[in-house]
């Protein structure tokens, strides 16, 4: 199944892209997506356990994904 991965700020710089479509196994979790993305970019700049949002809600590493989910890797936020 396909999910959309969004990358922002330093994570977008590390991977060189801000949006990626990736194929994952049925039953894949947030953790699987993170591992996939870390292979695409400069893994030293992508932490093993970044904050992640699935469909705009913060989600845990073992959150199970569904086809079409929007998975955002969220660098440390710095608003304000």
């Amino acid at each position: 199944m396909t999910v959309t991965v969004l990358l922002f700020a330093s994570y977008a710089d590390a991977v060189g892209r801000s949006e990626i479509e990736i194929d994952v196994e049925f039953g894949a979790t947030v953790k699987d997506v993170i591992e996939h993305v870390r292979k695409l970019g400069d893994a030293t700049r992508l932490p093993e356990a970044p904050m992640v949002a699935v469909n705009e809600q913060y989600a845990s590493r073992d959150h199970e994904l569904r086809a079409g989910d929007e998975v955002a890797l969220i660098p440390p936020v710095a608003g304000g």
Binding site: E48, E56, P75, V77, G79, G80
Partner: protein, 153 residues
């Protein structure tokens, strides 16, 4: 209640007007502004970016929480994105309430939660021409984010 992510200068008066009513005796306004020096480096400006749809959603949730906390709907917040110069306002929070304690508490709540939960990032531009994504610091109350992120600087 009002929350918005904007790409134009913030007008603090209009934020105050959104919460001002005759039943309120106290207004607390918080303004975040771009500092000329951060961690000892001279800053010429800041570029704010966001996961915009989620940022708007989380900001709106935080305002609802603050309104519940203060038992008042007179809570407003605006966060600006884009390129800001030193001294310009990046965020404005206003809370009005019949009594000041609640207004202070709710305004503080909004800015603390915003800094911890709203997916907004900033890249500082320095005098030497370099630019760098800013990691949250623990100057105030961002320890929570560092802890959640499992890393820290």
């Amino acid at each position: 209640m009002y929350s918005a992510i904007v790409e134009r200068p913030i007008d603090s008066n209009s934020i105050i007007e959104r919460v001002s009513r005759g039943s309120n005796g106290a207004v607390v306004l918080f303004l975040g502004t771009v500092r000329e020096v951060n961690d000892g480096r001279e800053v010429t400006g800041i570029e704010y970016t966001a996961y915009r749809s989620m940022a708007a959603r989380v900001l709106s949730t935080i305002v609802e929480e603050a309104a519940a906390l203060a038992d008042s709907n007179d809570v407003a917040v605006e966060h600006r994105l884009g390129e800001l110069e030193v001294g310009e306002c990046s965020v404005a929070v206003a809370v009005a309430h019949p009594h000041r304690t609640r207004a202070f508490e709710a305004a503080r709540y909004v800015i603390e939660e915003l800094k911890q939960r709203v997916p907004i990032w900033k890249r500082e531009h320095y005098v030497d021409g370099t630019r760098e994504w800013v990691r949250p610091t623990s100057h105030d109350a961002n320890d929570f984010v560092d802890a959640r992120e499992g890393g820290g600087r």
